[in-house]
């Protein structure tokens, strides 16, 4: 005849094993994803952009192809979701809105509300002019003179002219054709569409999978249950171990 204590211990062992087997899968997964997150830099997870259609659909991301953009000599500049696309090449991420873009000498000049960027024709950044390199802290528009030699900048107070993009002098503001966004020609819109498919960062996805957030509202709750099971398993495991030791010393 088994004593009540032995019955409890057997029952506990039985359920401990069952829960352990079910939870083992989660633990393995959590440990693996946790390890990967711990070494996100070595694995370059933050630099990997995933664009699988099912994944972006799962996150509710939709392609956003802008209708407007800056048509430049030998190219275009389009701004979409904080990314700047210059002739099929992303030249900036997490950037501000584009105030104006134009071709000037051998350079492309792109203006955000407070920075003037100079790019080579192949999209290499030449210089980034801010603060005292600009005649005014806010840029309203950029343009160039009729002979295309001088660069023009419209601030909140005045209009300025420069021959080198560094030294600025006040200028007469009349009759200037400022660089403005225009409706993109159909061929450019068609070309940029596949480039602007939404992407999601691999680190973000792994974080969401690790925390359960990828499964929406109930995901973290599921992970909470797994965490509680782990706690229970730890307690019952220690208790059973202690009982075994205690019995063997008797």
């Amino acid at each position: 005849m088994m004593s009540a204590r032995t019955k409890i211990l057997r029952l506990l062992r039985h359920w401990h094993a069952r829960f352990g087997a079910i939870a083992a899968l989660f633990f393995l997964f959590l440990a693996t994803s946790g390890l990967a997150l711990n070494h996100t830099d070595i694995l370059s997870l933050s630099k990997q952009e995933l664009n699988a259609t099912w994944l972006t659909r799962w996150y509710g991301l939709k392609p956003s192809v802008p209708k407007m953009g800056f048509v430049l000599e030998e190219g275009y500049l389009v701004e979409a979701d904080g990314r700047w696309l210059l002739n099929g090449q992303f030249i900036a991420h997490n950037s501000s809105a584009v105030v104006g873009a134009l071709t000037w000498h051998d350079l492309y000049v792109v203006a955000s509300p407070n920075i003037l960027y100079l790019y080579t024709k192949d999209g290499q950044l030449v210089d980034k002019l801010t603060e005292s390199a600009l005649p005014e802290p806010k840029i309203e528009a950029i343009g160039k003179t009729a002979n295309e030699q001088q660069l023009l900048l419209k601030g909140l107070q005045k209009t300025y002219i420069s021959e080198d993009g560094l030294n600025w002098l006040p200028a007469n503001a009349s009759g200037i054709a400022w660089a403005q966004a225009k409706v993109l020609p159909a061929d450019i819109a068609h070309r940029i569409k596949p480039l602007l498919l939404p992407t999601i960062n691999a680190e973000r996805v792994l974080l969401d999978v690790h925390s359960g957030r990828i499964f929406g509202y109930y995901g973290p709750l599921l992970m909470d249950i797994v965490a509680i099971i782990l706690m229970l398993l730890s307690v019952t495991g220690v208790w059973m171990y202690w009982r075994t030791i205690h019995r063997s010393t008797k």
Binding site: D41, L118, L125, V126, D127, K128, E131, S132, A133, L166
Partner: protein
Amino acid sequence: MKHILLSFSIVLSMLATAPVHAIQQYLSADAFLAEVFNGQVPKPKLLWLLKDNAKQAEQILGHAPNQIRQRYWQQNGVTAWVLEEIGKEELITAGFVVQANKIVQVRVLTYRESRGWEVRHPAFLKQFEGLMLQPDRHLTRQVDGISGATLSVSAMSRMTRLALYLDALVAQESQS
């Protein structure tokens, strides 16, 4: 002992300051330059990073330089540089002052990362003072790290090496 004191002071600073999770401009580039040149900021000069120089800069940074034209300010043998480098995901803007091939001062101007902002503390930045560039383009002394800010510390070290390299280029150009 020096290292222990440095770590201790950084930890103290960390405890005393609330973490920052947004773009933080501690000092504008203009204010930094005004501070360096006592309000008499000279006109900026231009240094182009092309061909071999660009390759050397790439070796220092581990990637192509962010921009191929670098502005700098020079007066009485002192050069000042405002450089940018990505820590983990965002750019850190920092100001560097070089004199006689040595770092005189380093300041973090804008910090955009969510973690690692401790690199802005003077206790950390002080260890850059007096650093020089070795022939292999590494610093003459290793910079002590900060836990949780490894990538930002590394970015600061790379920018320091670049500032020293650029200063050496300017010196070379003025000699030739």
